[in-house]
């Protein structure tokens, strides 16, 4: 581990320890009301899945996803599945570092179900989909069109370090294809472990 990595880890630990002590202690963390808006930033690293023998590309690279969402319900349900529905959208940017340095950008409306969870820890599942443009297509055998669609499904955990700020970590499955508008259209499938934060207001 390099000296810089150690500094980053120490800094993150410091932030995690300090922020909850800055205030807002009187409010229960993680309690969101109807109409609360969320803006967030998520980053992760794309890892390839070759689901068939015809898939040969090992696409990988960092992904960045700024997002917005709004809480559409008060807590619903009475059991372990109690939670809230959020609707929003996010911009997906992926820098494919392999097989070639290329880029992709998309806009995906998303729906998210945030479980009540336990105190400041709230798990969630989310689903998103929308148009995605990438110049990787045409350079790989799986995709021929630059205009594609991206579908995302996954889940994660939000840790509300304050009532307004949550740190997120989770996993997403990504599928990129052009919906049969051009051939070949095998599609690209990837795993995306991610981390990020959300701010609620």
């Amino acid at each position: 581990m390099t000296r810089q990595s150690r500094r980053v880890i120490v800094f993150l630990l410091f932030i995690t320890w300090t922020i909850p002590r800055l205030g807002w202690a009187e409010d229960p963390p993680g309690r969101l009301t109807f109409g609360t808006q969320e803006i967030g930033l998520t980053a992760g690293y794309l890892l390839p899945h070759r689901l068939t023998n015809r898939h040969t590309t090992k696409q990988s690279g960092p992904a960045l996803m700024p997002s917005w969402a709004i809480v559409l319900t008060d807590p619903i349900g009475q059991s372990w599945y109690a939670g809230q529905i959020l609707l929003g959208a996010e911009v997906v940017y992926i820098q494919f570092q392999r097989p070639e340095l290329t880029h992709g950008v998309g806009f995906t409306p998303k729906i998210k179900y945030l479980f009540e969870g336990f105190h400041s820890v709230r798990p969630y599942v989310e689903f998103a989909g929308g148009p995605f443009y990438t110049d990787l297509a045409g350079r790989i055998p799986e995709e021929s069109a630059r205009f594609n669609f991206i579908l995302t499904a996954g889940g994660g955990v939000s840790w509300f370090v304050t009532p307004r700020l949550a740190l997120n970590a989770g996993y997403r499955f990504h599928h990129i294809s052009n919906a049969g508008t051009r051939f070949p259209n095998l599609g690209l499938n990837s795993s995306l472990p991610f981390g990020g934060f959300s701010f609620y207001f």
């Binding site: 009301t33 319900t73 529905i85 409306p109």
Partner: protein, 245 residues
């Protein structure tokens, strides 16, 4: 010519976007009100020396059947409207009340709220709105229902209790981008105001009952003491025990 056409398209596009965003932020509230005849002004008179103080002993709130923490806001609002009608010499909460062995009215308010954010409809409409890339946001409206049932118990110094009840409901309709906590506050505000006004109408109607001369102050005053059974709707209550050896 091409430049002019592009400019017009740009202006048209901007107008469409502004219209879309504006329509997507709209919201309105519908209240279920009683006929106007029951809301007509009601005036009674009371002599100043006949007025007695009122103490608001407690406000209980239940939401969808579950007990909630007391709300200072609704207590203040209740006291405020009691002061407004001018029936009582003073209106104060139990904490601020001056000790008195004289004639006094004790009040207890129960607020039973019912909230329904229509989560199923919100989820489905959310999916449709998202799938349309938010183009249907101005067309599909979402709903949030709020209903309140208020019960006010007023206990006279001689132990006689009068109960007043009222209820009202309202629905907030909103487009996706118009969803804000203020919308719910406005809805609750309107419904609560209506209920409190209706309660006060009933109280004012009974003005003679609360005059100082309506009943003598007994040497052996009576207080009604009661405890209501509050059972959850489900007969099963989760209980966890830990055993230590």
């Amino acid at each position: 010519m091409i430049t002019t056409l592009s400019f017009y398209r740009l202006v048209l596009g901007c107008c469409a976007s502004v219209l879309l965003m504006t329509a997507g932020c709209s919201r309105w509230i519908e209240l279920m009100l009683e006929p106007e005849s029951t809301q007509a002004p009601l005036t009674q008179t009371i002599a100043r020396q006949e007025q007695v103080p009122l103490v608001l002993e407690g406000v209980q709130i239940t939401r969808n059947g579950a007990p909630q923490n007391p709300s200072v806001e609704i207590e203040q609002r209740m006291l405020s409207i009691l002061r407004e009608i001018g029936l009582f010499a003073r209106s104060s909460s139990a904490e601020n009340a001056e000790p008195s062995n004289g004639k006094i009215i004790r009040a207890r308010l129960l607020v039973d709220e019912a909230l329904d954010p229509h989560p199923g409809a919100a989820a489905w409409k959310g999916i449709v709105i998202g799938a349309s890339m938010f183009l249907l946001a101005p067309v599909l409206s979402l709903e949030y229902d709020y209903a309140a049932h208020l019960t006010l118990d007023l206990e006279r110094w001689d132990g006689q209790v009068k109960r007043y009840e009222t209820q009202s409901a309202g629905t907030a309709y909103y487009q996706l981008f118009g969803a804000t906590p203020l919308l719910i506050d406005e809805l609750k505000g309107h419904v609560t105001e209506y209920c409190l006004t209706a309660l006060m109408r009933q109280v004012v109607h009974d003005t003679p009952f609360y005059t100082a001369s309506s009943a003598p102050l007994s040497d052996n005053p009576i207080r009604s003491v009661s405890v209501k059974g509050r059972r959850p709707e489900s007969s099963t209550v989760p209980i966890s025990t830990s055993t230590t050896k």
